[in-house]
Amino acid sequence: MLEIKNLHATVDGNEILRGINLTIKKGEIHAIMGPNGSGKSTLAKVLAGHPDYEVTAGEVIYEGRNLLELAPDERAREGVFMAFQYPIEVPGVSNAQFLRLAYNEKRKHLGEEELDPLEFKDLLKERAKVVEMEASFMSRSVNEGFSGGEKKRNEILQMAVLQPKLAILDETDSGLDIDALRVVAGGVNQLRTPDNAIIVVTHYQRLLNYIVPDYVHVLAHGRIAREGGKELALELEEKGYDWIKTPETNGTGSGATAN
């Protein structure tokens, strides 16, 4: 489904990703772990197409197409979804309006008929169960005045409505208490199918108790420093990130080093 080859990316001229290689097949869950500044959130944003990040080398093949050639909204309509680490507030636009618009954009793209507000309401009610979201959230402005946990649940609700092929969860566990974590993770597990793939970007192993990955990749200084199964996450939990060293790193991590 997704093949990342030698991906290099910069932000504000600083190289953050320095040669990522990763292959993801449908039905798989991959965890991307790593210390702060290792590049894991950058990887998520590059895949989603955030305009601040510039790809300087490498390629990303998604479903046989060059993902990097697609605009962010095209990627989304093609089934790529990133759950934001810091979901954005959109004042004055209700959650229901926003979700219906996004949903219908995708339907149009797939040549399907758009849903009117009433039809969509039924669908939304059904999907909202996945994250135990009450109806009152639908008429409120997108993320405005939501607690941290509510915002993260709202991200998973969007995932439930859009049903992406490839979901990238960027630190979805950050700022969640244990109950909210359980709801969010439970939602993600319900949305897992043999046909989609999920990338879980996280600093902590905690989330992976609930969303069990098939593979764990540990990033350090913009490269994958270690890979393994779910037991690697447990090892990290025990030992921390310090013992992981990339062979070629110069240790400064300033990002100024050219390849």
């Binding site: 989603a48 197409g49 955030h50 305009p51 605009a71 962010p72 909204d73 990627r75 989304a76 309509r77 979804f81 990133m82 934001f84 979901p87 954005i88 507030e89 959109v90 004042p91 004055g92 636009v93 309006q97 926003f98 618009l101 996004a102 954009e105 995708k106 793209h109 507000p117 402005s141 969007q158 859009l162």
Partner: protein, 440 residues
Amino acid sequence: MITELIKSESTYQAAFRTVRHARPTAAWAELVRGSAMDRFENLGFPTVRSEDWKYTNLAPFLKDKIVPAVPTELAAEAIARFVYPETANNHVVLVNGFFNAQLSSLKGQGIVACDLLEAIADARYGKIAREYLARNATYHDNGLTALNTAFLQSGVFVLIPRNVKVEAPLQITFVSDTSEPHTANFPRVLIVSEENSSATIFENYVSLDDEAHFTNSVVEVVLLDGARLEHYRVQRENNKALHIATTATELGRGSSYDTTSITMGAQLSRHDISVVLDHEGAECWVDGLYIVGADQHADTHSVIDHKQPRCNSHQLYKGILDGNGRAVFNGKVFVRHGAQKTDAMQTNKNLLLSDRARVDTKPQLEIFADDVKCAHGAAVGQLDMEELFYLHARGINPTLARNLLTYGFAEEVIGKIKLDSVRAQLDEAALNQLHTRLQA
């Protein structure tokens, strides 16, 4: 230019003589009209040399010969599109400033709405009118208000009697019938909310067609002790119109005034809104939205005057500017000596959708008391890149994303209007004006 102005003023002199003759009124009102005409002759129209009119130039509009309107007949079908289900039974229509009883419908209970000139002649209402007319909208230093006052020959008088709580909103529609081009309309409204009354009033300014016209409206609002009034004002005149308006309000003890002004129409519009908090414990919300497209100019001047202690004022004005549109926001908040425990908050936020759009914003606080809480701020910005990316990341295309955020920006103000059909129409109009097609 100066000769042109004098010419158009002399048109008014001739028309004024006709009005005096055709529509005599009570002696006191006759005096008011006469002295207002004197003031207008003295003051004339404001020019850009005046600080308050620095950015808004009327001169190009006054070059054309403007003719004060006379009453015209209109069929009910002509105005059907300006009637909303919520106000079908509580609807007053002014055509070119003249109260039109045939087009009006007042089936609701409790509220008085009639021709202002008739109210002046009435024994009971005449007293009220005499006390409050031209009290808050003074004509002594304002040529435009003076002109409106001189041409007082109809208008609306609204009275919400003591202790009366009216649920159904009252709509006042100001229709400009431009079958005669370059007509000048002088709508005049006096609203008196007596003690502990409660009501909602919706002013709707529209044009029947696309011809240029000049509206110069003055609305005075008085809230007596404990009164509550929700007051909406929507201006959607055609894009050749020159629209000048004054809303002047005074608030009694413990009264509550919530007003929302939406400006979308006219080529050039100017709204002067003032609220005087003249008794303890009064509170007001003075909010607005101007949407300014290509070749449009919208100017808002607001004065919120805290004269007594323990009053609160909240002000949020938002602007959306596209094309080469221009807007002016000038907001003064005064906290007078002794107005302790004042809580005043003023915000003006502008969204520029084009490089050629321009806004001049000037929030001003003048505080002469020491135990007060006041804040003000102004912002001019563009659409937020992170917000746009968030929408893109959900599959919403860039044009739609831009429109959706613009709509969201407007919604904070439009959403205050509690008439569903009016709000839905405004949402749609806001989006159409921004060339889009989102359905709510």
